[in-house]
């Protein structure tokens, strides 16, 4: 019951936050010069002032900004994100087609980074001066300083061209026929390189943090108690220490959600991954305001949901947070 009440309250906050995001995005996008009329005129090879004004009137761009904002927010509240001028489709439909691919990439990258990062952190905390520890430090420095598109391109060259074990681009092999599992493994196969690329930045962060927090926990009094009970080393590390050292890592993972989403834009472009990122690039170039706004809305939603999940995960791990409210 307690849990449900907190969940409802957090969802309420999230809704208010989302509304603010919509309004701010709308204003910012409209402050930028250029609109769809410029793009259409450009495609037509030039147009007179009258034609431009006509296009603007057609799309309702001649009305005052406040009125436009009002009708946009009203639409969003009813689940209508507007119509894309450029793709000539409802924005909701456009995004619904692309969102799953992005979610798949973001979630697998976060999970990979968290699991491998924690694993490396634990191993290197056990022997802070051992070879694994130095390897993790090196990996962290590399992962953090290498630009994500460069990492992506290098992986592509290595594992798609020189050693062709992974596909070069896209999410599915269109020539492939088969049932659910064939498709599943096909997508998984395509997912490997983009996931590793996106995870590389965060893997480094998480493993460093996990190493530090694990070392701190291993020196604490309750670990000495666990040793005094005669528990085995693996029970001490995996049961008593790990659960305590995960909190900072999960907190950071939550904070990094927005960075993962924006990193996904770059990775999707490199690997031609059919997600929101490549859609964002196209719609920005086309000045397709409704699509841009829709993508920003969903990015914000992903980040907010990610943070919500982080909070819930922390609650599950630490009874002290559970009992606070």
């Amino acid at each position: 019951m307690e849990f449900l009440r907190i969940l409802i309250r957090r969802v309420g906050y999230a809704a208010i936050l989302l509304l603010a995001v919509i309004v701010l995005n709308f204003i910012m996008v409209h402050l930028a010069p250029g609109d769809i009329a410029d793009t259409i005129a450009g495609d037509m090879g030039g147009a007179t002032e009258e034609v431009m004004a006509e296009i603007r009137e057609d799309y309702g761009l001649d009305k005052p900004m406040l009125v436009q904002l009002g009708s946009y927010v009203g639409g969003v509240l009813q689940g209508d994100l507007g119509h894309s001028y450029f793709f000539n489709q409802p924005v909701t439909k456009l995004i619904a087609e692309r969102l799953p691919a992005t979610l798949l990439l973001v979630i697998s990258a976060q999970l990979l980074a968290l699991i491998i990062g924690t694993l490396l952190g634990v191993i290197s905390a056990r022997k802070p001066n051992g070879i694994t520890s130095h390897f993790v430090s090196l990996l962290a420095l590399f992962g953090y300083s290498a630009p994500v598109f460069w990492t992506g391109i290098m992986l592509l060259i290595t594992f798609s061209l020189l050693i062709p074990i992974f596909p070069v681009a896209g999410m599915v092999d269109v020539t492939l026929e088969g049932g659910f599992w064939t498709r599943f493994w096909d997508i998984a196969h395509h997912l490997v390189l983009p996931t590793i690329t996106l995870a590389s930045i965060f893997l480094a962060l998480y493993s460093r943090l996990c190493r530090a927090s694990m070392m701190e926990v291993l020196g604490s009094d309750y670990i000495r108690t666990a040793r005094a009970k005669g528990l085995s080393e693996s029970q001490i590390v995996l049961k008593h220490a790990l659960k305590n050292s995960l909190s900072p890592v999960i907190t950071l993972a939550g904070l990094q959600f927005s960075a993962v989403v924006s990193g996904a834009v770059l990775v999707e472009t490199v690997f031609s991954w059919p997600g929101l990122g490549s859609l964002a690039l196209q719609s920005i170039l086309a000045r397709d305001t409704p699509t841009i706004l829709g993508i920003l809305f969903f990015s914000a939603l992903v980040v907010i949901v990610g943070n919500l999940l982080t909070d819930l995960a922390l609650r599950l791990i630490d009874p002290r947070i559970r009992n606070q409210s």
Partner: protein
């Protein structure tokens, strides 16, 4: 439990010439230097001394929990029921820890794992050493909480440590330590972090449980009052060495080492309860020497001692024995005035 009863059995625990070394930046330091003592089955012994005298190190050495990789047992034996723990494997030590020898610590506030229920933390040690099932261990955990006088144990068993007071947490630590009916309980300053009233309750509880279980208790403390209440024998440690050992009554009435004498005169009321005198409260001037001086071949207390002579600066005093196993590592132990 009583495998040796009836025979002239060796002591339950017999520490012989124990030397523990710690690697520091300034070199290897003997934090425990030539320590010997015996503890009979069901006996009680206290270790006293200032901070940094090697009391806690002694406890950790007995448990096989010396800080790694800096600490090691360099020489001597720790004979527990005839088995030398100083040479035992890690696996064997893990079998003994929490089962035959348990320990409670100074900081009850941080000694329990914050993310597991206290019931789980008690049950865990039962599952580890007695092979109990989850259900049995949980039921036994409730009984143990009851035995350390936690009210409504069947409700509190699912509490997390942060829901308990310091005194209650120390009771839980005692429940964990006594869960497998150990033959020795090491209590390392178990009440230092607690309120005075709670301190008395914890000592009462330990006394009560000792009578019920027959567990031998090694109490490490700098509270002379606690020593007088809890123990039959005491060892006074100074700079990693045994300064004096004997029955508590003998040592307090007639200390045979100037350091012991200093410790006693620094405690109010202690003598008042035994004699009618109201001696002045005195402090021991100076501090425990730095670790780097621990290995020196002289009396390490000489720099703080009123009656130190050149001999004290030149050579390390051996043990002089008196009645009832009373002994002192002072050249002038014979001449000390009570």
């Amino acid at each position: 439990m009583n495998t040796h009863s009836g025979t002239s059995a060796p002591a339950l625990l017999s520490v012989k010439n124990l030397r523990v070394e710690i690697k520091t930046r300034d070199g290897v330091v003997p934090v425990i230097d030539d320590l010997s003592f015996d503890l009979p089955e069901g006996g009680n012994i206290s270790f006293v001394g200032e901070s940094g005298c090697g009391k806690s190190m002694t406890a950790l050495a007995l448990m096989g929990l010396l800080p790694q990789p800096a600490g090691r047992i360099a020489a001597g034996n720790i004979l527990f029921d005839g088995e030398d723990l100083a040479r035992a494997t890690d696996a064997r030590l893990r079998e003994i820890r929490g089962n035959d020898i348990s320990m409670i610590f100074q900081e009850p506030m941080t000694s329990l794992n914050p993310v597991y229920t206290i019931g789980e933390q008690i049950a865990e040690v039962l599952r580890r050493h007695q092979g109990k099932s989850r259900k049995e261990a949980h039921a036994r955990a409730i009984e143990l909480l009851d035995s350390v006088h936690i009210p409504s144990p069947q409700l509190r068993v699912d509490d997390y440590p942060h829901q308990l007071s310091g005194g209650q947490r120390q009771r839980v630590m005692i429940a964990i330590a006594l869960a497998c009916k150990p033959r020795i309980l090491i209590a390392d300053e178990p009440t230092t972090a607690l309120d005075v009233t709670v301190q008395a309750q914890i000592f009462d509880l330990l006394t009560e449980l000792r009578e019920v279980t027959g567990t031998a208790i090694i109490l490490i403390t700098h509270d002379m009052g606690a020593v007088a209440q809890m123990s039959e024998r005491m060892v006074v440690m100074y700079a990693g060495r045994k300064a004096e050992e004997g029955r508590v009554r003998d040592v307090i009435q007639q200390p045979r080492h100037p350091y012991t004498k200093g410790l006693i005169s620094a405690v109010p009321h202690l003598l008042d309860t035994i004699t009618d005198d109201r001696p002045e409260l005195l402090e021991i001037p100076g501090i425990v020497p730095p670790l780097t001086e621990f290995g020196r071949p002289n009396c390490l207390f000489a720099s703080r001692c009123d009656s130190a002579t050149e001999k004290c600066q030149a050579a390390r005093p051996g043990e002089i024995a008196f009645d009832n196993g009373h002994s002192s590592a002072c050249f002038y132990a014979d001449e000390m005035q009570p």
